[in-house]
């Protein structure tokens, strides 16, 4: 997996995590183009796209687009869709009825969760209890 983005419907990135180095201008351009393509697709079209050598898998949850980009021919697309869903469920469990604002205001927590699940571009953990344990500990300590 090369990158994970959460972009809202107006094109503003809410979370971006890159697993290979891209300069800031490249990132901006990439995000803008991808969100434009995603926005122009309808419900009936499939969730996979090819873009600039990446395979892009996306899914829309309420006002946020969850976008995952992988290299060509590497990942199982259906599996990644499952992963996106798992991610959303984990965020939901932690934030209780997560919405876009939650992610915006606790950006670093969202990053922590994502980092527990995805490391160096590979899926590490999908068990919600295990993912959230360090975070819950952290919260307890800093109270």
């Amino acid at each position: 997996i090369n990158f994970v983005l959460m972009v809202n419907k107006r094109g503003q990135p809410r979370l971006s995590s890159y697993y290979e180095w891209l300069s800031i201008e490249e990132r901006g351009a990439l995000e803008a183009e991808i969100i434009r393509k995603c926005l122009s697709r309808t419900e009936l079209q499939c969730s996979f796209m090819e873009f600039r050598g990446y395979k892009v898998i996306y899914r829309r949850y309420a006002s946020l687009f969850f976008i995952v980009g992988t290299g060509q021919d590497e990942e199982n697309e259906l599996g990644i869709l499952e992963f996106i869903h798992c991610l959303v469920e984990t965020l939901d469990k932690y934030f209780e009825n997560v919405c876009e604002l939650d992610i915006m205001f606790s950006l670093e927590k969202a990053h922590f969760i994502l980092d527990e699940m995805l490391q160096c571009g590979q899926i590490v953990e999908t068990n919600k209890a295990n993912i959230l344990k360090p975070l819950q500990l952290l919260d307890k300590v800093s109270r």
Partner: protein
């Protein structure tokens, strides 16, 4: 963040952010440690929005060094996001990382591991790999799983350490924790894929993997890992992938997997996405190892089921997979042909793209007619960028598989009717060749009628226009009789000569007709003059159309052709032209693809590097002129229309540009830049050159001052001679009279070029006979002599007698070069030459300036 959100405009946002950054910077300077982590978190947000945030990098380092967990956490996060590209900063972190890796607290260790993995700087990894190896066997599962992922990064960046890690990773497979299993499997997958030298070791893991998978499949309900009824689909998928990577090319491993693959394929439920994901991965694995046929059949059946699923995602995935399978097993995929063809009409563009690829792969002798109809339908709705690609692929398919010439021609015509604007020169050249071939005689009337009707309907498709105009010109009389339509849909009525001429005139007058089209129409008139006996007066009038045109090519043609028909014309001059056979066309296409194959749309003339063209034998001036013109067209960035090349005829005589790759300059710009690209590479010299000439309407004319030139009108070719006998005097006959000293133009490495001069019959014309000889002990082949002259001289080169120079001075070749020095007497001739040849397996190129031409020439 709330403030930023409240901004209404981008400028406001920038203001808020810069204020905040200033505050952050001051607070950093004050070394305030309590709020440092908050500030860095703010910086993360800022960075995500795209603003520069590098001043926070040192702060991240300080955070990492702090003993508080929260600080460390934010510090590492900041590091991974903000600092990825500066290795110097990263080196400073290595120390903290190292101490954190041996920390008591497993969470800290975990943190350090993930940071190390994400940063993946090769030096850091190398230094710390020892510690990572130890941590792979740590008691805490958390730590183990992260260590495994770190190991993957090590595999990627520091490949020599793979050996040490593999056995430990394999032992991790005994673990019960799914996450550890997952990461260990991923590590093995990585080894299997990227490090084939260690695969043997990793293969020992296969039985263990199979066992784990079996447990997974058979295990009961496990709540933490359950997704829609399937236990841990992620682990399923990873194991399958690892099996695929490890079992590749290894029959033993493949055998061990057969049972479990069959079991997974049959038992997994496909009604939820997770199940489908597993099935998909199973299919992928089956096709990457060589397994027994039963499994393959099973896999294709699964794909067939996917294709019929209503969910677009699943269909997309199935089409992708089928695309890969089709190269292995075509017949199995044929069964699903109808479904695939349906996908061509789907609303979803991703699916359509995949379906098109598949359809092309499926085309075979039996299915071509049906499938090409589908593709033509698709062509109508395809986006313009895709059209060109589709056309060329369809062209290839048609050449390989077409059942009959008649069908071939009609398909090409249909293609041009839909996308004539986007086809390459290949297409209409092929079409014209096919129409002209003698085998096409019986259905020629119907073809020409069809072209006429198509042209009448829509003259904006350039490819179609060229083909139609050419066909009407060549075979005009056929239109005067009725003909049956292709596939028997009725009859075309007979037309009168006036109607034919009217259509041509209408096409000519269109505002968007290209220069090439207009030139071809002029040619067509000339041909029809001979063929249509009643309308000769009308045609002579029509030929006057461009007598005073600003475009040199058009004016030349108009004047020349008018004069031609007005003088005593012999019918044989405008008789039917000989057409290349299939083998010759194939040869052309091969050399064209070696040369500049990038003729995008017609007349545009974008081309690849000219250096490859030196291999071809093209050395006539027309070829060179076209190449030069094409380069000009490219440099001037003129689009389809060809007018660029036509208009830049003056620049053809530019010294250095020609030398960029072309060769001698012709004159009267060869506007058919794009068109003749394919023709340029023809093998056998004269005949081909002329034909290429005709196709493109190249500037075959001599100096514009000459009254009746070697016209570009079609003629029975015979070695480049002028059409009208009266011109024979010039180039053909040996110049006599004044004698000039022989000039040693070039001598180097045993290759010698000598030139003999004589005055030509034309005004200020000089005829140069160049002789090439080779005094080396090795023979020379592919000898190519190119010359460029300054603007005031015009150059025309005839083809040489041959390209091979035998050693020791035997086997000399000669070439005649015509020069017209408009400043004869005031300025001497200067010439730059470029010689390329192959000797002893090497390709050599020499350049030189030739001086010492006799004065008065």
């Amino acid at each position: 963040i709330r403030n930023v959100r409240a901004c209404k405009t981008a400028a406001e946002e920038r203001a808020v952010i810069s204020k905040e950054c200033a505050l952050i910077r001051t607070s950093f300077k004050e070394e305030d440690s309590t709020f440092r982590h908050r500030n860095v978190a703010k910086l993360l947000f800022v960075h995500m929005l795209g603003y520069p945030s590098h001043f926070g990098q040192m702060e991240c380092l300080k955070l990492v060094a702090s003993p508080r967990f929260l600080d460390k956490r934010v510090g590492y996060l900041g590091l991974s996001i903000l600092v990825q590209d500066s290795p110097e900063v990263l080196m400073l972190v290595t120390n903290s990382l190292s101490s954190d890796l041996s920390h008591r607290n497993p969470y800290v260790q975990g943190l350090a591991l993930s940071a190390l993995g994400n940063l993946s700087n090769p030096d850091m990894l190398r230094d710390l790999s020892g510690q990572v190896l130890k941590l792979l066997s740590n008691t805490n599962a958390n730590v183990r799983k992260k260590a495994a992922l770190c190991a993957i990064q090590i595999f990627r960046k520091v490949p020599d350490m793979v050996e040490d890690f593999v056995p430990v990773v394999i032992s991790m497979l005994q673990d019960r924790n799914h996450a550890v299993l997952l990461t260990a499997t991923t590590a093995l997958l990585e080894v299997g894929r990227e490090h084939p030298s260690f695969v043997r070791k990793a293969r020992k893991a296969v039985p263990q993997l199979v066992k784990v998978l079996k447990n997974l499949v058979l295990s009961g309900y496990a709540p933490e890992y359950d997704v829609n009824g399937i236990t841990d689909p992620f682990l399923h998928v990873q194991i399958l992938r690892a099996l695929g990577a490890l079992g590749k090319n290894h029959a033993g491993a493949a055998e061990a997997m057969n049972d479990i693959l069959a079991q997974v394929a049959t038992n997994t439920e496909g009604n939820r996405n997770s199940g489908n994901a597993i099935l998909y991965e199973c299919v992928r694995t089956i096709f990457s190892i060589d397994c027994e046929d039963a499994l393959r059949v099973l896999a294709i059946n699964i794909l067939g089921r996917f294709l019929q699923n209503r969910d677009n995602n699943i269909r997309y995935v199935a089409l992708t997979m089928l695309g890969k399978v089709v190269s292995v097993d075509k017949d199995a995929v044929q069964r699903h042909r109808d479904t695939i063809v349906d996908c061509l009409r789907d609303m979803d563009v991703s699916i359509r793209v995949r379906a098109v690829d598949l359809v092309f792969a499926l085309i075979s002798q039996s299915s071509i007619e049906v499938l090409s109809k589908e593709i033509l339908n698709f062509l109508v709705v395809a986006p313009p960028e895709q059209k060109k690609d589709l056309c060329s692929r369809l062209l290839d398919a048609a050449i390989n598989f077409s059942p009959s010439k008649q069908w071939h021609i009609h398909t090409l015509i249909s293609m041009m009717c839909i996308a004539g604007r986007n086809v390459t020169a290949d297409t209409w050249q092929m079409a014209t060749a096919l129409i002209g071939q003698p085998e096409a005689e019986e259905f020629r009337p119907q073809v020409v009628h069809r072209l006429f009707a198509a042209l009448n309907e829509d003259a904006s498709q350039t490819g179609l226009v060229y083909t139609a105009v050419w066909a009407i010109g060549e075979f005009g009389p056929v239109l005067l009789q009725p003909a049956e339509k292709f596939e028997g849909d009725g009859y075309y009525d007979a037309l009168s000569e006036a109607e034919v001429l009217e259509l041509l005139e209408k096409t000519r007058r269109r505002h968007d007709s290209t220069i090439i089209a207009r030139s071809m129409i002029m040619n067509a008139y000339a041909k029809l003059y001979v063929r249509f006996s009643e309308s000769q007066a009308h045609i002579s009038e029509l030929l006057h159309a461009y007598r005073s045109s600003m475009n040199l090519e058009l004016q030349a043609r108009s004047c020349e052709l008018s004069t031609l028909v007005a003088s005593q014309i012999d019918d044989s001059w405008l008789a039917q032209m000989p057409v290349p056979t299939d083998e010759e066309m194939a040869l052309r296409r091969v050399t064209a693809s070696q040369n500049s194959d990038e003729e995008s749309s017609l007349g545009g003339g974008s081309d690849s590097e000219e250096s490859s063209s030196e291999d071809s034998d093209a050395s006539s001036d027309d070829e060179a002129a076209k190449k030069a013109a094409r380069r000009k067209a490219k440099a001037a960035k003129k689009k389809a229309g060809g007018s660029g090349a036509g208009g830049s005829s003056n620049e053809l005589l530019q010294f250095d540009d020609i030398f960029g790759g072309g060769g001698g300059s012709g004159n009267g710009g060869a506007p058919a830049a794009g068109a003749t690209g394919a023709g340029a590479g023809a093998g056998s010299g004269n005949q081909m050159d002329l034909l290429a000439d005709i196709f493109g309407g190249g500037g075959g004319g001599a100096a514009p001052s000459a009254p009746a030139p070697a016209p570009s009108a079609p003629m029975p070719s015979s070695g480049g001679d002028d059409l009208l006998g009266m011109l024979g005097g010039g180039p053909a006959s040996q110049p006599v009279g004044e004698s000039f000293p022989t000039l040693n133009a070039f001598e180097k490495n045993g290759i010698k070029v000598t030139m003999n001069f004589a005055r030509g019959p034309g005004d200020k014309q000089v005829v140069v006979s160049a002789t090439y000889s080779n005094s080396n002990s090795a023979p020379v082949s592919n000898f190519l002599f190119q010359a460029a002259v300054p603007k005031f001289i015009s150059l025309k080169m005839e083809p040489p007698t041959g390209n091979a120079l035998a050693p020791f001075g035997g086997g000399q070749q000669q070439q005649r070069i015509n020069l017209v020095n408009s400043m004869q007497g005031t300025k001497p001739i200067v010439m730059k030459v470029k010689i390329s040849y192959s000797m002893g397996g090497q390709d050599l190129v020499e350049q030189a300036t030739v001086q010492g031409f006799p004065m008065g020439l």
